[in-house]
């Protein structure tokens, strides 16, 4: 009995003593939407270091589920329970700005933002901005679509360079396809990352989600329909894909490639991570190239060389009462050191956002082809931000349904995309607040 009393007394005294210390600190809550494990660890470590070097600020870090990040944020917004900082992807920006969830960083501290600007690749700065304001401090970008191909297999079949047009793609795939070995591996499950690759191809073909004024959904235009037709032909007419296109996602497909189940695969910029996970040797003969495009884009919009999303970056919420302190934290993640650290310390093959990182030995090693283009100044020229608008999540689901319907032979491409357009038009209109 006595022991219990002593224990309670000590604990209360301890709590009382620590509370003034806690009171002096500004507490910031940070929700981070789950990235890969090594990146989460990096963020956590840097946050802990930050808390140590900034004794008057305490950042409380919590890891959230990726799939529900948007829902969680919106529900918290509805109840006034938003955190101060959020780390999430750039495609979330239009929705969150429309709901007034995030704050424009240049209005919190324009000097700091001006200091940041010259470091970043200008096209990427655009990805993290909206309507002229910077909302996100990007960490890295993922680009798609890319073609990952087996150099050796192509050479042995007589091809010295990877296919650049759709006709070449069909020819190469046909030559290399045999039972149990796909000419090209495609991923078309319902997860949004598969859709991102597809959106990349659509945008490269001059297709778009929305019309210029943002009012109408134009996903059923020729830019997208022709891409779907290509996929359907590859899968059903020429039969040069793996049989399970609708059950293989982007990760499975890339893994299968490195397990020698296919000669080519349509993937994203960080495909090499799969090589490491598959146990394939470092000198596995693969190459990374822009995905093949139609000789002339059939959509009426300008073609994009690829689309990129800043899949992780720092946001400050408009509800935060400590925006200045939050900017200090954001500043850490805008620093050259951390931005280069994504490439040098965290090896998950993301494309860097800060100019100086492109000259690091790590980048040159991970992306030799990209480095060559960077040197020539051609890397980001025609790149566009990953498509996003208010309602993109549900629209991407409609796109997945359309894609699967066509691939399974249930609908012809035009029909499938017409239905996608109708459903998505409803979504876009109903979300107009």
């Amino acid at each position: 009995m006595r022991k219990i009393i002593i224990f309670i007394v000590i604990t209360s005294v301890g709590l009382l003593l620590s509370s003034p210390v806690m009171a002096k600190k500004v507490k910031l809550t940070l929700w981070q939407a789950f990235a890969t494990d090594s990146e989460n660890v990096y963020i956590k470590r840097k946050t802990t270091e930050f808390n140590k070097t900034h004794p008057d600020i305490y950042v409380d870090y919590s890891l959230e589920r990726w799939e529900t990040r948007r829902e969680k944020v919106m529900l918290a917004y509805g109840r006034g329970l938003l955190p101060d900082l959020i780390m999430a992807d750039s495609p979330s920006i239009p929705e969150w700005v429309a709901m007034g969830i995030i704050a424009p960083l240049d209005e919190i501290d324009s000097e700091m933002v001006a200091k940041w600007k010259p470091r970043f690749v200008p096209e990427i700065w655009e990805v993290s901005s909206y309507e002229g304001h910077l909302y996100q401090v990007p960490s890295f970008v993922d680009c798609n679509p890319f073609l990952v191909y087996n150099k050796k297999a192509l050479e042995e079949a007589g091809f010295t360079k990877p296919p650049e047009t759709w006709e070449e793609l069909i020819a190469v795939a046909q030559k290399l396809n045999k039972p149990g070995y796909a000419g090209i591996l495609l991923a078309a499950t319902k997860i949004f990352l598969d859709m991102n690759t597809i959106e990349g191809m659509i945008y490269a073909n001059g297709g778009r989600w929305l019309s210029e004024d943002g009012e109408e959904v134009v996903i059923n235009g020729p830019g997208a329909v022709d891409v779907l037709k290509l996929w359907v032909d590859l899968h059903r007419k020429y039969k040069v894909t793996q049989p399970g296109v609708t059950e293989t996602n982007y990760m499975d497909a890339t893994m299968a490639f490195f397990k020698d189940k296919g000669a080519m695969v349509l993937a994203q910029s960080w495909a090499d991570v799969m090589r490491v996970e598959s146990g394939a040797p470092e000198d596995y003969p693969y190459g990374l190239a822009f995905a093949p495009r139609r000789k002339t884009p059939s959509g009426k919009f300008p073609r994009a060389s690829f689309v990129m999303g800043a899949m992780n970056g720092v946001f400050i919420t408009s509800a935060s009462k400590h925006k200045k302190e939050a900017m200090v934290y954001a500043d850490l993640f805008a620093s050259e050191e951390i931005l280069r650290g994504w490439i040098e310390e965290v090896t998950t093959f993301r494309v860097p956002v800060v100019k100086s990182a492109f000259e690091t030995p790590a980048f040159k090693k991970q992306y030799p082809d990209f480095y060559a283009l960077w040197k020539k100044g051609e890397l980001f020229g025609e790149a566009l931000p990953q498509p996003s608008f208010n309602g993109i999540s549900e629209c991407e689901m409609n796109l997945a349904d359309a894609w699967q319907a066509a691939l399974l032979g249930i609908k012809i491409p035009q029909e499938a995309l017409d239905e996608c357009k109708e459903l998505s038009q409803e979504v876009v209109e109903s979300l107009r607040f």
Partner: protein
Amino acid sequence: MTEITRKTISVALVAIVAVIIFLVIWFPMLWAVSTSFKPKGEVYKVPPVWIPQHPTLEMYRRVWTGRSAGGVTEEGSPWGRYVTNSLIVTGTTVIFAMILATFAGYSLARFKFPGRTLIFILFIASQMFPGPMVMVPIYGIMVKLGLYNTLAGLIVIYTASVLPFTTLISVGSLRNIPHELEESAMIDGCSRMGVFFRIVLPLSKVAVITTGIFAFLMSFGEYAFAVVLITGSKRFTVPLGLARYITAFDIYWNEISATILTIAIPLIFIFFAAQKHFVKGIIAGSLKG
């Protein structure tokens, strides 16, 4: 056909059937065991590797010490946290269920009070209800009660889900306790409540164990309500963690297998140790109503 031939054929048939049954039932687990010891390169080898050529404990190390997919150390094992959360939720649910189901079961078994039939029917009916059909209102109720995204919310709904079935099972078991025992105790001066705590409870071992095991199995592996009610990985239970790996990182199967094994083995031990009681309890409960 000679007697010997007939016997041989029947023995052979039995053997084949037994083997088929065994394989179909146990193949996934055996495959998981094999995979959990495989290094990266062997997981997807073609033709498939049955016995790992370079067996490694790496995956188990990762699961237990906190490394995870991606191969970089994370301070504080995520699985440790998930298992702790699961144990808290499951443990509390089991305790609540054991207490409440036994109480209610005794009440229904022993006393004939007005409203008894109605309550019986209610319990029988509600053992069918809790589940994804009422996901939406449960979500709404939990938000209103402030239990959204809390372990307490899970405990509450899991207990509610288990109570009907376990109460009915307890009724069956508790019916068998002869009234004379209680009556003689009361003659000796014991109060009604005293009889319950001192005579009935110790004799209701089977009911309590069955309830406990059922509650444990149901809440440990529950996923549907967990995925609706929990969103921060701080509060993930084991099924949530597993599902995340299976649907998002579905290439790290050697690691997933190691996790599955780590979870399954204690489950198997607990269950097989108490299997006899459990089956007895279910039979008693359901056969005798």
